[in-house]
Each structure stands twice: as C-alpha cells, then as structure tokens.
C-alpha cells in the first residue's frame, strides 16, 4: 500500500462532486470534488508500491488538459496507466455533463 500526494495549478472551478470507477482488481475508483482553493490536489492510495514516477507522469498528462480546481482521491487496485487515464477522463467528462 502506497500513498502519493500531488498538487497542480488550476484554471477553472469544478461545479460538482463525481464518483467513477469501481473497487476491483485491475481497476480504480476516482472521487472528484471542488477543491477549497484555486488549485488541484490529488491523493492516490494504491495497492501496488513503487510506481510513483508512473503516477506522476499519468497525472501530469491529465492535468495539462483538465485544469479544474478539484480535490481528487484515487483508490487503485493495480490498474494499468491506460486504465487510470481512462477513469480520470471519465471523471472529467462526468463533471462537465
């Protein structure tokens, strides 16, 4: 079990709270809600240790486009980077919907 915390600058507020994904092998859940300040805060709880660099690279790429001032909690159960990005994009889409 490893815990990773990252912060990003934000360009706009997010309007609501969303929850996507599931607790299950090779999957993850993403809980996204408006952040208390003008920045984005990410907390990753992952069952697989030693992938901090990969997490940072996936999240860097996501926040280049997303730009929302959100607090995001990710509970990961060994998802691949592709699955993580897909769930983040699903959360971004749900928050806009």
């Amino acid at each position: 079990m490893e815990r990773i915390e990252l912060d990003y600058p934000a360009r706009h507020a997010v309007p609501r709270r969303v929850h996507v994904g599931v607790v299950g092998s090779g999957d993850l859940e993403v809980l996204l809600e408006p952040s208390p300040d003008q920045r984005a805060h990410v907390l990753v709880n992952t069952s697989v240790d030693g992938f901090g660099v990969v997490w940072k690279s996936v999240l860097d790429r996501f926040f280049e486009r997303f730009g929302g001032a959100a607090s995001i909690e990710i509970n990961d159960f060994g998802a691949t980077p592709g699955t993580v990005m897909l769930r983040l994009e699903q959360a971004a889409e749900a928050v806009r919907a």
């Binding site: 994904g21 599931v22 299950g24 092998s25 697989v48 990005m85 897909l86 994009e89």
Partner: protein, 233 residues
C-alpha cells in the same frame, strides 16, 4: 484462437470449454515460455512451485497464448507468450465451479474466499447463472494449481459469461445478493466484446469501462460494438 491441431487444447472436442481470458494453462516446461521483458528469477521460482499461467486479455498471436505469471508477492506479475504446443493442460473458471474444486482444498474453512464459494454458487444458481461462472484471480489460481496462495484477507474474483445482454435490474439484484457476503467480491461480466465490472454495470449509468483485448475503453453498451467505437479513448 491460435490454430494448432496437435495440441492438448485443440484435440479436445468442440463441446468442451474453450480457453479464453482467465483460463489457466499448465506448462510442459518453463523454457518454452517466450518472455516479454526479461525472465525474472521470481517468475522462474514461482513456475517451479506451480507450472500454471493465466491467459491475459490481449490479442493472441498465431499459435501463441498471451499469458501472465503470478509470484507470491502482490506486485510480482509478468507477461509472456506460451506456444500452443507447449500447453500440457488447461482449466477454465467455469470448470473449477462445475467440479466445486474448492471442496478439495485443505483448511478452506479458515479462508473466507474459499469457504464462501458454496454460498456464492447458491446465489449464482438462484439467479440463473449455473454453468456460466467461475472463480478467477488468486482463488482460481489456487484451485487449478493446488498451490496455497489465497490468504484469509483475499478478495474473491469471479468471472461470469454473459453472451447476451443482461438487464440492469437483473445485474443490480445479483450485485445486491453478492454484496451481502462478508467479503469483497469482484465480478467481471464477460461479454463477446470484453469485460465490464458487475458493480459498475449495475449502477445503470450511461457510460462504463469495457476491458478489451485492445485496452480499456468507455462504452454505453458492453454488448454493442458500435457504441464501443464511438466512445473509445
């Protein structure tokens, strides 16, 4: 499916279960594996204890099965390819359920993921899924290989074959029944296009994640190819 008429898999009659993702394959010899990124010592050691690998969800290559090797520690997973002719035997999750392989495990009553399988079977039968489900993950691996690897804290991964569309209401009823068990159950619905988590499908939302041989994608209907391509990530 790789064609190879002389192999164990293809010499069986067509009415028997066929290997697919989640199927466990027994190796003839470790040296016949083609490793994707090197050959970790832990993987060779694990295969010496239990010469079983699991079919991964990627496109098969001609006469080669995409397989995963699991070690004793959680992050120990690696990918390889197994020539069709090097498969000594195979077991599908449904075969493990049909034979109630968990009843042969010593100490099963102290491990919830094994002890509750009779109850899981009753739930799936009551909902009309007899013969279409089976255990995957570490439970499937232990039942196929007979190597103890399920711990008292292990979750239970289940695979349910759903060739025809399943109603959200039926899915929600099944998920509610399984959620009442005193352990975490993770069910993958296997459709002809890939797999979707029962927990996610049962929510009845308009978008969900489908795991396919070409990667994960967001879809509206896990049984409809056109929806899958329209929303692919």
């Amino acid at each position: 499916m790789p064609p190879e008429s002389s192999s164990v898999i293809h010499s069986r009659t067509s009415s028997e279960p066929r290997p697919a993702v989640h199927t466990l394959l027994r190796l003839r010899h470790v040296d016949e594996l083609i490793w994707e990124e090197g050959r970790p010592d832990w993987a060779v050691a694990a295969l010496e204890l239990a010469p079983w690998v699991v079919v991964r969800r990627v496109e098969p290559r001609p006469r080669l099965w995409p397989v995963g090797i699991r070690g004793g520690l959680r992050p120990q997973r690696c990918a390889a390819w197994l020539p069709d002719a090097a498969v000594a035997d195979f077991v599908t999750p449904e075969m493990l359920a049909t034979t109630r392989a968990w009843r042969q495990r010593p100490c099963a009553d102290t491990i919830p993921a094994l002890a509750l399988l009779d109850e899981v079977e009753a739930i799936l039968q009551a909902h009309g899924y007899a013969g279409r489900w089976g255990p995957g993950g570490s439970v499937g691996f232990e039942l196929a290989s007979t190597l103890p690897c399920v711990s008292p804290a292990s979750d239970l991964d289940l695979v349910l074959k759903v060739p025809e569309p399943l109603g959200v209401r039926d899915a929600a009823a099944l998920w509610a029944a399984l959620s009442r068990l005193p352990l975490r159950v993770d069910v993958l619905l296997e459709t002809p296009l890939g797999a979707v988590a029962l927990a996610e499908y049962a929510r009845g939302k308009s978008v969900m994640m489908l795991r396919t041989a070409l990667g994960a994608r967001l879809v509206a209907d896990p049984w409809l190819a056109s929806a899958a391509s329209a929303l692919s990530a």
